[in-house]
Assembly symmetry: C2
Homo-oligomer: 240 residues x 2
């Protein structure tokens, strides 16, 4: 009768307000870009004083950090879901599904994409640890899954460079090696190379640099994706 018992009313309100602050910040970002995330604007929107937000986030950067974590997690969820939803025995289609999910998410959430991968907000400096690096790592592990799925056919084209385990961040390897024991260092390198490859096309498109040159970035991306899959020794799956 008195609502949830496990968490007090106060705590519940606190959680709700925290969520509302973040939601409002994301709305502002969506309509006015990353610079629209100002404590005062958020407070105005919520009918409170700017300083009240300090009860929830110690500083504006902390809020931005929380937003990045949330947004990055959403991206990781999206690509992981696309990967999980694709047929396990069709590596080419899985990779294409992953890449399309990455690009589609970026195009659907351009402000979020800039928040994650660009200069998010004036003067913001990412903290060392936290949830955002975790999400980044999740994305990397996701790409490692791509590399692992394709390694059989890709080894010939990508296995010649002499990578060693000490070329990579231990924190990444802690996640990758147990998950993909058969993947050698060059395979991890392949994962990062794929990431960079796709990232570049998507970044240019999201930031508008590509749109100034071509009218069909979509075609460009899919051509390059098909090429990548072939390059990995796989037969490209059906488009779309």
């Amino acid at each position: 009768m008195t609502g949830t018992r496990s968490t007090g009313r106060r705590e519940r309100l606190r959680i709700e307000t925290t969520a509302e602050i973040k939601r409002t910040a994301l709305e502002l970002m969506g309509s006015g870009g990353p610079d629209a995330i100002t404590l005062r604007a958020i407070a105005r929107e919520m009918g409170m004083t700017a300083n009240a937000i300090y009860g929830y986030f110690a500083t504006r950067d902390d809020l931005v950090t929380a937003l990045i974590s949330d947004v990055y997690t959403a991206l990781a969820d999206a690509v992981d879901a696309a990967w999980a939803a694709s047929a396990q025995d069709a590596p080419a289609e899985r990779i294409q599904a992953w890449a399309r999910a990455f690009r589609n998410w970026a195009l659907a959430n351009p402000e979020g994409f800039r928040l994650i991968y660009g200069d998010p907000v004036p003067g913001y400096q990412a903290p060392a640890g936290g949830a955002a690096p975790d999400a980044a790592r999740r994305v990397c592990v996701g790409i490692a899954a791509l590399a692992d799925a394709a390694w059989g056919g890709a080894e010939q084209a990508y296995g010649d460079a002499d990578f060693g385990w000490d070329d990579f961040d231990p924190g990444l390897l802690d996640k990758v090696r147990p998950a993909f024991p058969a993947l050698p260092p060059a395979g991890v390198a392949l994962a990062l190379r794929i990431w960079g490859h796709l990232h570049g096309l998507v970044t240019l498109e999201v930031y508008g640099h590509l749109r100034a040159q071509t009218l069909s970035p979509d075609k460009l991306f899919h051509a390059e994706l098909t090429h990548l899959v072939r390059s990995l020794g796989l037969a490209p799956g059906a488009p779309r």
Copy 2:
């Protein structure tokens, strides 16, 4: 005795001051990131009032636009020079030289790179025309030269996608088609694909996303570059 006659003393001072403002802005950016570009800081550094800058740039965005033009032109100069300095009859080495110049410039001028390709400064929105798009186009034309040089061997791997001239911006084609008459639409697409490909790796590295995962982004880049050259049907040249 009275100095240059073609331009008055006043005009000369004006040009010098304009240059000093831009130089100071670039210094501030170099030491404090793109957000350090504030009219007040520049003025402080130069011993004037912030409003005095309004005599030279109508608004802060105009100053940023001018900086982007300058920096973008410097990048275009750097890659063009590397291209011109490499042997004309060794397309693989030319491409590698171009790509290395691109990456090296980005790593040497990370702040400039973010200024060009990132969210440069809070709220800044690029104007439609001007020198910056020209420099961007110059870079694109430079990559088109790569594609043109490699098209003979690359056509097999990159020529299947059905691109037409109407997939591209007319302004780009105005520059590219006269310079490379033999290059078909798919070749122009290849240029943009190469651009995106390299851009991604460099962007991740400059923004620190890659460094969180690998300790040798250099190795990664060169492995990918070698792969790219091979993929273009060329034999990679000597490293470094």
